[in-house]
């Protein structure tokens, strides 16, 4: 190696490669490597990577019956895979051309019901066979070698030299000494970090402006409408029946917290009825109206079992007793379903007397405060 050139305009380095490159080229000259067989070279490279091949179960002898059978098997698997793949393609491309149309039709049978299973089944079969063929190929036709590779622990040399480079470099920054820079960096980091997070502030909105969680669209005199928009009179429902009703506002039937159950109690239920304190007059005759939104996690409660007077929520099976002010009698719900005060307007249709007097739906931290 010649000394590095330092003259301006020169490349500044030695013209020949130094000793610290790539493989052991000094020892294994091209001439020497050229005398080795491919297998020897393979094992040499492996040894250089810390790998030693311990033992090889040879592949079946070329031309033997075992080999021929295995070759046939693997080839057959790949051929079947190809066949199945082509078939999937024909179904996919041919439907609506020379095969019947693939699109869904009302008959619930025929080609459109077969199209998806066929492309999936044939395509899946093709891919699986590709995989099976590859596995068979390695198992039956490749030699099985057992190799062992060394595991290295960290090198002390590497640790010490890397540590020196790192600490030496950091030391030249001199931050431990130059306190003013360190302090300004901390200050800057805080400021810039805050600035970068700033846009996320746009996500934050105050949930306590007005009372969005505690109010719904129900107001005094608003009609109770069925899902199809028709109003209801007291004579319309059978005793023991339940109707889901919505406030008479545009889109009322899609509001997430306004859905209400209008229930007509049976005579024996009426005699049993014990409304919640201060809500005796919330019903109208034998009608009561409760929020449909479960006080547990907000699912619509929907299964009304009139023999037991219970409403069951399908999500976690809370049960509410309609004769006891919709108190929860089983399951994870903790609060009764809120009751909507109702009456009848001058045309004889059901209307709300006001909004719910408490928040409907699931409990939250400051629910009792608003």
């Amino acid at each position: 190696m010649s000394a590095p050139h330092t003259t301006p305009g020169s490349t500044g380095g030695s013209e020949t490669p130094g000793p610290l490159h790539g493989g052991p080229d000094e020892e294994y000259t091209p001439e020497r490597l050229a005398t080795m067989t491919r297998e020897e070279l393979d094992l040499l490279g492996a040894r250089y990577d810390g790998v030693q091949v311990l033992h090889v179960d040879p592949a079946p002898e070329p031309g033997s019956r075992v080999e021929k059978a295995a070759v046939r098997q693997v080839a057959m698997t790949f051929a079947l895979a190809g066949l199945s793949a082509f078939a999937a393609f024909v179904v996919y491309a041919g439907s609506g051309w020379f095969l019947p149309d693939w699109q869904w039709d009302i008959t619930e049978g025929g080609w459109s019901a077969l199209f998806t299973p066929l492309i999936g089944g044939l395509g899946g079969l093709a891919l699986t066979l590709v995989g099976v063929g590859m596995v068979l190929f390695t198992k039956k036709l490749l030699p099985h070698e057992t190799a062992v590779q060394d595991k290295h622990d960290g090198s002390h040399f590497d640790r010490v030299t890397t540590g020196a480079s790192l600490m030496g470099g950091l030391n030249t920054y001199g931050l431990a000494r130059r306190k003013l820079i360190t302090r300004s960096l901390v200050f800057m980091g805080g400021g810039v970090g805050l600035m970068l997070l700033m846009p996320l502030g746009g996500l934050i909105r105050n949930p306590n402006v007005g009372n969005p969680l505690g109010t719904t669209s129900w107001t005094e005199g608003m009609r109770l409408l069925r899902g199809d928009g028709s109003p209801i009179r007291p004579g319309d429902q059978q005793p023991g029946s339940l109707e889901t009703v919505f406030p008479a506002v545009p889109g009322g039937n899609l509001e997430s917290d306004a859905a209400t159950m209008l229930i007509r109690l049976r005579p024996e239920q009426v005699s049993l009825e014990r409304p919640r304190e201060g809500q005796d007059d919330f019903g109208y005759g034998d009608y009561v109206a409760y929020s449909k939104i479960c006080t547990h996690a907000g699912c619509p409660v929907s299964l009304y079992e009139q023999e037991t007077s219970r409403i069951l929520c399908p999500c976690h099976q809370s049960q509410f007793d309609v004769t006891q002010g919709a108190k929860p009698v089983f399951g994870p719900a903790t609060r009764p379903l809120p009751q909507l005060p109702i009456t009848v307007d001058d045309e004889g249709f059901f209307v709300a007397r006001s909004d719910y007097i408490e928040a409907v739906g699931p409990t939250y931290w400051n629910r009792e405060r608003i």
Partner: protein, 553 residues
């Protein structure tokens, strides 16, 4: 190093020349050789992580296709598509686009179902992979970091599952979203604030689908990709663990080199996983959203069930008693908070911290590259089984209404059975597992000491009958084996030590010669001294009526 056209080692074939051109520029020959030579241990349970990886690839491919059609808009539209039963119905654009994908895009339904099946398989593979890591102790030093990444992957895959499930905006997914909204509201102090940030206001608002979409297709997949890359890089760097066995030590890996065999096998596994997902996607209907109908907050379909991996949370929510906590100042901690936020928080924290906990308790600070058999670590195995039992009770409780209906049991009874089961089943499972582990350990030791049962009964001169045992190795003067247990499986049947010749290959007619097979087997008799086992195998019985056993005590 001047080269001439005639210098040795200069490539002459076109392929060789091309390779030289590449290596001249990129210098990749060295790293490439190291990669090809990398040794992978061979055990079926090491394929579980690969299955997770491959299903992730399938999810990326199929999911990208779905984005060509899916529209995350929440504007109300009127359906006019092919599916006649829904024409004229109002629905969100998101649901409409899902119907379009299912009915108006050629093969769209197939890809949708493929995506869903691959997602189920993905989470399942991760969970089973995690169990194998846990029960074999692969998480021990130096692999704790990879365990942490694994737990993060698991949590993120839940997030992927939930956001994906919500995108179609059908009745089922809408119900799930509503429950999540309630869960967010249940967080003490900040619940409503978080809800307002996530939903941009009250439930349901206009933003949530669009936000979940970007989380599902961009943010979480990007994080998953990054974490999986680190997970695998670390695996390569730290090298794979292996089960103890002949020639395997803490300082080596015994197995196959990546090339040629391992790579083809791994590729084969990828195609099999892909094929199975595709076949399921075509043949087995999943999440037929057109049967659920568009989301409407006032409707719910009976027996609404989340995907399997969320069922344990549904179960905990059903089982937790109605205990709101009222604090002074009229503040409430809703009952919902405990089973849905606190419980999973505890579960995942314990899971993530387990390697550290075990290290602290056992004071085992050493590096381990050899795996353990679950029976040899009875406390850990029993703890794991106990946790699994806890999880399974919760999971079944998530479907307790279905069970109640199918078997005509009262729902209330099911709920109470779940509550009680959650407390008593896990400890019982712990004790049982512990006993089983000890029993298995004992049997291993017994075989090492007394040898294998041969099924050969011999009558001693004084009339006593004994069963002849085949020792696995050298014996002392009492006929007791001297092999120590090495953490590897102990053969339990004569056939495992060459008691019988392996079957001759050939389906209709033999394609090998029996004599050759015999020869071949004699050649690579591992472990056993060939002469000893041969005596037993040739005639099927010990030639001298038994090796030097004493009658067993």
């Amino acid at each position: 190093m001047a080269r001439t056209a005639t210098a040795p080692g200069v490539p002459t074939t076109p392929l060789g020349k091309a390779a030289l051109e590449i290596d001249d520029r990129l210098i990749v020959a060295g790293p490439l050789r190291r990669t090809l030579n990398k040794v992978f241990p061979d055990h079926w349970s090491f394929l579980l992580g690969e299955i997770a990886l491959y299903s992730f690839v399938i999810l990326l491919l199929s999911g990208t296709y779905l984005t060509f059609y899916y529209d995350a808009a929440m504007t109300e539209v009127v359906y006019e598509g092919t599916y006649a039963p829904m024409r004229g119905l109002e629905m969100t654009a998101a649901y409409e686009s899902t119907l379009k994908l299912s009915f108006d895009v050629r093969g769209g339904l197939f890809i949708r179902q493929l995506h869903h099946w691959a997602a189920l398989l993905f989470v399942a593979a991760i969970v089973v992979h995690l169990l194998r890591i846990f029960f074999t102790g692969a998480f021990r030093r130096p692999r704790e970091t990879n365990w942490l990444i694994g737990v993060a992957l698991l949590v993120l895959s839940f997030a992927m599952g939930f956001t994906g499930y919500s995108l179609p905006d059908d009745l089922l997914s809408g119900t799930g979203l509503r429950i999540v909204s309630a869960i967010i509201l249940s967080i003490p102090v900040v619940g409503t604030w978080v809800h307002w940030a996530v939903f941009d206001g009250d439930y349901v608002g206009e933003e949530i689908l669009g936000r979940m979409y970007i989380v599902h297709v961009l943010i979480v997949p990007a994080i998953l990709l990054g974490l999986i890359a680190v997970h695998l890089l670390m695996l390569v760097k730290q090298k794979h663990t292996q089960f103890p066995g002949p020639g395997r030590t803490e300082h080596n890996v015994v197995g196959n080199r990546l090339f040629p065999a391992f790579a083809v096998k791994a590729g084969g596994l990828f195609f099999i996983v892909f094929g199975v997902c595709a076949a399921l996607g075509g043949l087995v209907q999943i999440n037929p959203v057109w049967l659920w109908g568009p989301y409407n907050p006032a409707q719910v379909s009976a027996a609404s069930q989340p995907d399997w991996y969320v069922m344990f949370l549904d179960g905990s929510t059903r089982l937790f008693p109605a205990w709101d906590i009222n604090l002074p100042g009229n503040y409430t901690i809703p009952a919902l908070f405990w089973p849905t936020v606190v419980l999973p928080g505890i579960i995942f924290t314990l899971l993530a911290a387990y390697p550290v906990i075990e290290r602290k308790l056992t004071r085992d600070e050493a590096s381990h590259h050899l795996l353990q058999r679950p029976r040899d670590v009875p406390v850990r195995t029993s703890l794991g089984m106990m946790a699994l039992a806890f999880y399974i009770v919760l999971m079944f409780s998530g479907g307790n209404d279905v069970i109640a209906e199918k078997f005509d049991i009262s729902l209330n009874a099911m709920t109470w059975a779940g509550r009680i089961g959650l407390v008593i089943v896990p400890p019982i499972v712990y004790l049982l597992t512990y006993r089983i582990c000890l029993g298995l350990q004992k049997h291993d030791r017994e075989v090492l000491e007394h040898g294998l049962e041969t099924g050969v009964i011999r009558r001693l001169p004084h009339g006593e009958f004994i069963e002849v045992h085949q020792p696995l190795g050298p014996v002392d003067e009492h006929g007791h084996g001297q092999l120590a247990y090495g953490g590897a499986p102990v053969p339990k049947r004569m056939n495992q030590v060459g008691g019988a010749r392996r079957a001759i290959r050939g389906f209709f007619s033999p394609i090998e010669e029996p004599a050759r097979v015999e020869l071949e087997q004699r050649r690579d008799e591992h472990g056993l001294s060939a002469a000893e086992s041969r005596e037993l195998t040739t005639s099927g019985r010990p030639s001298d009526g038994g090796r030097p056993q004493e009658p067993r005590d």
